[in-house]
Amino acid sequence: MAGRRTPYEIYWEILVFCKTPRSFTSIINRCNLNSKIGQDYLDFLCQKGYLSSVQEGERTGYLSTGSATEYIALFTRLYQSLFDTIPGFKL
């Protein structure tokens, strides 16, 4: 049940998942993306320096860099504040 996510939500999911080195396949499976779109997201994050490629034996993995911390923190704060600023739903 991935639903309709915004690109920012997908970036956050990838960066959090890649706090430990992850393969391309595990990223697209976990974040529920197809190969082409998954590759586009990873290319963007690598290009901006949020992800780095790491060599694990014969396979290439992806790892979040220190720069990703600021984005992850801001995103987490913004989404959690949705429950602080707006009165919740109750029966």
Partner: protein, 211 residues
């Protein structure tokens, strides 16, 4: 802060789960009422007890209730299965729930809402419509037990037959209207959150572009 948000999230998830579950039950009741109206009108029509026009309208109203009920059940099941999946996932988490886990669930919830927003709006309309519809249906049904005396000019109602047959219709009508009100409330909360997200996206893009 995360504990508080986690509890609030769990509370909202639980409330919406109950609302969705009740909605499936009430949709089934609406359909059952429709079937009951059709079934009771057929023998009466054959025996010629009451006017054909009255029975035909009862048959028609019953048919519409069946169609609405069926439509409502399908929409409710779709909503219910999604929220059940999220609730099961939350229940399987160990305490304390981390910042990232709860944020991930918030993303799942908002994306679930985006995907089902139209269905939820349809359910609000159906709930209001079914509520008023069942009220009318109950009134029509109660007319069956109403008699008018031309000589004395008085109305009499067989209260012992009216209450058992129309009370359930009125009850479900009220519940249907309440259900619509709560769905509206839920939708309003998540619409506000979506607006906040839309506003925050500029900020996120700015940070992301800086690299």
């Amino acid at each position: 802060m995360t504990d508080n948000i986690s509890q609030q999230f769990a509370g909202e998830l639980h409330s919406f789960f109950i609302l969705s579950l009740l909605n499936v039950v009430f949709a089934a009741l609406v359909m059952a009422f429709g079937i009951q109206f059709i079934v009771t009108s057929v023998p009466a029509l054959a025996e010629g007890e009451t006017s054909i026009a009255f029975l035909a309208s009862q048959f028609l109203f019953g048919g519409v209730a069946v169609v609405m009920g069926l439509r409502w059940i399908l929409a409710s099941v779709q909503i219910f299965s999604g929220i059940k999946q999220l609730r099961d996932e939350y229940s399987s988490l160990d305490d304390p729930v981390s910042d990232e886990t709860i944020t991930g669930l918030i993303i799942r919830m908002i994306s679930y809402y985006r995907e089902n927003r139209e269905t939820i709006q349809t359910m609000i309309i159906l709930g209001i419509f079914c509520g008023f519809y069942l009220l009318i249906l109950g009134i029509i049904h109660s007319l069956e037990f109403l008699s008018f005396s031309f000589s004395s000019g008085t109305f009499t109602i067989d209260i012992h037959r009216v209450i058992p047959s129309t009370f359930p219709a009125f009850f479900v009508a009220m519940v249907s209207l309440f259900s619509a009100v709560f769905f509206k409330k839920f939708s309003k909360v998540w619409d506000l959150r979506q607006q906040e997200i839309d506003r925050a996206e500029e900020n996120l893009q700015h940070v992301l572009e800086q690299g």
